[in-house]
Symmetry: C2
DNA sequence: AGCCGAACTGTTATATTGTTGCAATCCCTC
DNA sequence: GAGGGATTGCAACAATATAACAGTTCGGCT
């Protein structure tokens, strides 16, 4: 078994470039305006695979010399969420970049409690099971949240070696 | 298809009685103290199948004539969660009684955005799919959140008839 | 019964997260 | 270059959750 992204070393600059390029393309196609603030917030979120809180983003914007208040950040986050560029992790009150932006998917998040990195799965098995069980109850689905907290393979190994 | 609980009329007093009796039994067996505050909070939560926020509980306790501050409620909620008597719904910042207290299960919540009622599923299909996908990534699971927002059968029917 | 330590509760203050409302500005279109 | 919608700046506020510490209650023990 190879440790999956993002739980191992990788060329993260590539993740960021890819995410930003995708974002520009997606916004262009849908006629949405990826303004400097929005792009900067997206870039900040993609600093790592660890979700960032709104007020952490706010602090980072202030460090830029950019005057910013909470609504600035929340509005940018709303925009990015609406266009599928970031996801909110409800159990952390934090936001993470979506590696599958543009492709239809139901996020399913593996959250390592040790290194804080988050992996977004897209396998159909889980969403299929959820749809089946909901349908059995006659329930019409709008939105699904699946957040799995635990320990990633890298951190398990690190813990075992100590 | 019959509309499932809690989305149809039912003898809810029975739900409450059952939940409280279960809670007393579970606490007795584990040597935990179901104090008056804790029991009252549990009873308040079971007023309905709609999740209650901590500050709604706080207001209700105050109406009792009980002087209460946020820590009172949060401590009671912590206790009830630790003993599996209530669940926190992360997407609502609210708490709902667990109808399967005492039995090992991974909650999976169907949240009606119209009537606010929440049904907790316990089918194994979803958790099995989650465990399988996590294992495939080498991820060790601590805790799983599945929250499905949408519309319950009763509210779908009501919407169709208008 | 009386004592002790742990658990529980009261109280105040504070931290964290998210929203409302309105004015000013920007950008695209006509 | 005017009109109008989207975006941003800004101030205040609302909602949710926690920290710290003092007082009280409870159950087991002598
Ligand atoms: Zn990366
Ligand atoms: Zn990890
Ligand atoms: Zn009921
Ligand atoms: Zn409903």
């Amino acid at each position: 078994m190879t440790t999956p992204l993002p739980y191992r070393q990788h060329d993260h600059a590539h993740c960021v470039e890819h995410a930003l390029a995708d974002a520009r393309e997606i916004c262009k196609r849908s006629g949405a305006r990826l303004t400097p603030i929005r792009e900067r917030v997206l870039q900040l979120i993609w600093q790592s695979h660890q979700p960032l809180g709104a007020y952490e983003l706010l602090a980072a914007l202030s460090q830029d010399g950019h005057q910013a208040a909470p609504p600035t950040v929340y509005r940018a986050l709303d925009f990015l969420q609406q266009h599928g560029l970031v996801h909110r992790i409800a159990s952390l009150n934090a936001f993470v970049g979506c590696p599958h932006a543009g492709r239809a998917h139901t996020g399913c998040f593996l959250i390592c409690q040790t290194c804080r990195n988050v992996l977004e799965l897209t396998g159909k098995e889980i969403s299929a099971a959820i749809e089946q069980q909901s349908q059995r109850q006659g329930f019409r689905i709008d939105h699904v949240i699946v957040e799995i907290s635990g320990q990633c393979p890298a951190c398990q190994q690190a813990a075992a070696n100590s």
